[in-house]
Amino acid sequence: MIGLSHRTADLALREAAALSGDRLDRFYARLSESHPNAEAVAVSTCNRTELYVARPTHEAPSGEALRGMLAETVGVPVERLAAATVQREQEQAAAHLFRVTCGADSLVIGEPEVLGQVKRAYADANERGVVGPVLHKLFQEAIAAARKVRQDTGIDRGRVSVASVAVEFAKGVFEGFAEKTVLAIGGGEVTKAMVRRLLEENARRVLLVNRTADRAQQLATTLGLTGDRGGARPWDDLERLLIESDIVLTGTASSEPILTESMLRRVVKKRRRRPLVLLDVAVPRDVDPAAGSLSNVFLYNLDDLQTVVEQTLSERGDQLASCEAMALEAATACMAEVQHRDVGQLVRELRRRLHDIGNEERARTRRKAHNLSPHDEDAFEQLLNEHTHRVINKILHLPLSQLDARDASRPLGFYAAALRRLFDLDSPQPSRPEQTPAEESQEDEKLSARITR
């Protein structure tokens, strides 16, 4: 995995390095062309751009090559990208993916959007044919683990934005908002966010009021509030609008309360005991706190909303350790399966290759033996020696060629150590009983089965 996130890069760099649309197509096309055997999935969100690539160990593309490819695709200098990217290999890369999918690495811990984003990234890569068996397994397991972790730890429960918490408070009074009228006083960001959430909840009508009529009209236009859906209203109609509305959102810059207790008392009388929810996110408050004691008036201020947000985040933080532990466990198990499958595949390919060599030499030796006299033991002995040497040379040719010290790009020490280890060259060779080819083949099969189990 090569990538940058909110932990390593600022917003400007994350925006510049985002892979989507044409850029994503170009990246996948370039990777497929230069490294057709590599698998890749690019996860690019507002908080991260991460490339998950699967390829045989010590083969291309390297981390540096991927960084370069990314830099070229997004048009960011590679040095700038290198300073902000992190590289992870094997289990660490898998563990990171699992953590990301569970929401443990998010800016807001436990946020559920990232799971959908990872699923979409995986689906996109799959459509482009750049996903192979390793990344299929990894991403499918990560998505399944994320569901389980979220369910078991509850790390995604609760609301973590003021606007969402405000809507939840309103839902405590009203069953739905399809028949409800919302009045928004002022045009602050939080007020706008609450209006948007209520529109998502299908509020019947949203009325906007501002001391500056143009600003109310501008906001109404931005939110598409026209006709029956609502729109801007004059400031002078405020008291009448309070009587009509069911939910009032207020977030102005006024230094004094604009909804006083006496005004709301008059309003409540005329509302015939219909409940009224007041959500006051202004500092200083727009609504006189005494109004909260009026019958059928439910008043919530910014403190009430933020307390819920903080409590939710705190609870999610408490769940983080168990979430990460579960993600790590799942990632480790997944990687073990992937590696076992790899080894099984490797053994099968190796056996096939060696059988091919053996069959080829047997055919050659048989042809030659055909020309020998049945009583010419010396010639037969010579032919057998030649056969043995040829088979050994063919088998050892490829691995020994990797030990060519003239090629500096090859990890000589790694290959040498691997050969010593794999062929157990450091231990004295124990004498083995003579075995027939059938017995040798049977023993190899058992060994292979043990490895691939």
Binding site: G110, P112, R147, G158, V160, G172, R274
Partner: protein, 318 residues
């Protein structure tokens, strides 16, 4: 058929089961602050964090089936075609149907919390049934009553009481939710506390249903009272001034007001909740008067009321 030990023991078990279910259900309402509904997800990945508590569902269903079994047992032992021979039968029927209602509401995500309040009522009714079975057993005077009017009266009154109990449970939950909201307590997870609007709707609808059934039951009851067969009434000359009739009329009036709460704004919101609870208390007090006072509360009961068949205990209902 006089009371018997198996019935009393069964009622004790059912009462304990419903009380346990009520405790479990009400405990579930006490959650950590901030545990809202499903997370902010457009993908809806977080799953059902508020599934009904299996024990509460199981106990509710168990109480329903248990009450039905006890009723069936009493019916078979009684050997009469008519099932409701005493108040214990009526209370069993009310308790069983309320337990069924508690089981049902748990499948409705926004009404799940109502089960706790309903189960409290179930436990109370079944506890009363223990008393009605063991200590204050008064069989109805069936031989002197017209079976059709009797059926209408008892059916209307008992089924009306069930609706009244549901309205009162919704009223209690309304007051609980209202208090939480007024105290700025964080919203509970969806499925544990319904909105005030939903609860008001439940109160009004159950009150309306209860009103209709009670009207039927009370009218039939008036017919039963005023047609004593010997030219008199079962409750004396001024039967309309007996405690039973006054309390019944009071409860009926409250339900008439309650079912119009949305139109009569003075009775909306928490007032409707209190009215629902008060109306149920009035209704239950009618049972109390009928059970505790010989003759059903008549000041100067005529001889015809006390002349019950030898097989029945003294102080019959009518």
């Amino acid at each position: 058929m006089p009371h018997d030990l198996p019935v009393t023991l069964a009622l004790v078990l059912l009462t304990l089961a419903s009380a346990a279910a009520a405790v479990l259900a009400l405990r579930r309402l006490r959650v950590k602050a901030g545990r809202g509904a499903e997370g902010e997800s457009s993908s809806g990945e977080s799953g059902d964090a508020d599934a009904p508590v299996p024990w509460v569902r199981g106990l509710s269903l168990g109480v329903t089936l248990g009450a039905a079994a006890v009723l069936a047992y009493r019916w078979m032992r009684g050997g009469t075609a008519w099932q409701l021979v005493a108040h214990v039968d009526g209370l069993l029927m009310i308790g069983g149907l309320l337990a069924l209602a508690a089981w049902y509401v748990q499948s409705r995500p926004r009404l799940r919390g109502l089960a706790g309040f309903v189960l409290v009522g179930v436990a109370f009714v079944l506890a009363w049934a223990i008393c009605a079975a063991a200590w204050t057993y008064h069989p109805f005077n069936l031989e002197r009553l017209d079976p059709v009017w009797e059926a209408l009266h008892l059916g209307g009154v008992y089924l009306g009481t069930i609706s009244a109990a549901l309205a009162a449970a919704a009223g209690a939950m309304y007051l609980f939710a209202h208090r939480r909201l007024k105290r700025h307590k964080p919203p509970l997870a969806a499925g544990r506390i319904a909105s005030l609007e939903t609860l008001e709707t439940v109160i009004v609808r159950c009150a309306a249903m209860g009103f209709v059934l009670l009207t039927l039951g009370l009218v039939a009851g008036v017919v039963v009272i005023t047609h004593a067969g010997d030219g008199g009434t079962r409750l004396g000359e001024q039967w309309w001034l007996t405690p039973k009739i006054i309390l019944s009329a009071g409860a009926w009036t409250l339900y008439a007001v309650l079912m119009n709460a949305r139109r009569a704004s003075a009775f909306r919101g928490s007032y409707a909740a209190w009215l629902a609870i008060a109306a149920l208390v009035l209704l239950l007090s009618v049972y109390g008067v009928v059970t505790a006072v010989p003759g059903g509360g008549v000041v100067d009961p005529p001889e015809s009321v006390n002349a019950v068949p030898a097989a029945a205990s003294e102080g019959g209902v009518r």
